[in-house]
């Protein structure tokens, strides 16, 4: 079934990849909160951040903004479906 809420397979897999990178970053962030001098974790954090930022940029250019502070072109794409709680019907 395809409707306004649907997300195509390519978009879904790209978003899942970004979710994974952002999750790794968050998990490291919490670890660094209580281990602020752990150099291995800091270097892992920096490496992941570069990857996540590049993927986020590519995703947003293709599918629209993930955060509202994103340059507006012709229409206000921020409101576009799907929102995260919508069923992702491919």
């Amino acid at each position: 079934m395809n409707n306004a809420n649907s997300m195509h397979e390519d978009q879904e897999s790209m978003l899942k990849e970004l979710m994974m990178l952002d999750f790794k970053l968050l998990d490291l962030q919490l670890y660094l909160d209580t281990h602020p001098d752990d150099m291995n974790s800091i270097s892992a954090y920096n490496n992941l951040l570069v990857k996540a930022e590049a993927l986020r940029k590519a995703y947003q250019e293709k599918y629209g903004p993930l955060t509202v502070n994103y340059p507006v072109s012709d229409t206000w794409k921020w409101i576009n479906n799907p929102w995260p709680w919508n069923k992702m019907e491919v």
Binding site: L15, K16, L18, M19, D22, F23, L26, D27, Q29, L30, Y31, D33, T34, H35, P36, P65, L66, T67, V68, N69, W78, W83, P84, W85, K87, M88
Partner: protein
């Protein structure tokens, strides 16, 4: 302050509705050991934390809990969405439907609305951090019980993720508690 990121923390894609299960899972939205309570607990307690590590961990875990609240709400919504009212009534959700339709409302599995009386913000960092350790254990136990009541892999997968996060948070709070105790021992608070 906060910015919204228009995605879930972990993917949720539920194919089959299951209102009965939604009625149990909703306690992790608005129940005593649920994600809203967790978020409010940590984000309130952080104001009285004495060390940079403890301030950061309560701030950041309190923020992650907001993403978990969104995940649990998404699970509940997808489990009850498009179910006919008569079917909801048959499955014991007649009262829920009367009050909330197929919307998501913060309450526990017995229908008691969310209450901040399920947590404390004591202004005493040691007392608060011990509460936080217990809170993570209780939330994990609730996810364990829910997993026992659930046989849909679409729901089991995100519930397992959420359960795992309780374990990680418990470990981070343990470390923060140790740091606070050590600093208080040497009176090097800032």
């Amino acid at each position: 302050m906060w910015y919204y990121d228009k995605k879930l923390q972990y993917p949720i894609k539920i194919t089959n509705s299951n209102p009965k299960l939604a009625k149990y899972i909703i306690t992790q939205y608005g129940g005593p050991d649920g994600e809203i309570g967790a978020s409010l607990r940590y984000l309130s307690q952080r104001f009285a934390m004495p060390t940079p590590e403890a301030k950061a961990i309560l701030n950041d875990i309190g923020t992650e809990e907001l993403a978990h609240m969104e995940m649990v709400g998404t699970i509940v919504r997808q489990l009850i969405q498009d179910v006919p009212p008569r079917k909801l009534e048959e499955l014991g959700l007649g009262s829920y439907y009367t009050e909330h339709g197929c919307g998501v409302y913060p309450e526990n599995a017995s229908g008691v609305p969310f209450s901040a009386s399920a947590f404390q913000s004591k202004g005493d960092p040691i007392a608060d951090l011990y509460e936080d350790l217990a809170a993570e254990q209780k939330a994990k136990a609730t996810y364990d019980y829910l997993l026992q009541l659930c046989d849909d892999p679409d729901v089991i997968d995100p519930l397992r993720f959420l359960r795992e996060r309780e374990v990680v948070h418990f470990n981070r709070f343990s470390e923060a508690l140790q740091i606070v105790k050590d600093r208080m021992g040497t009176k090097k608070l800032y």
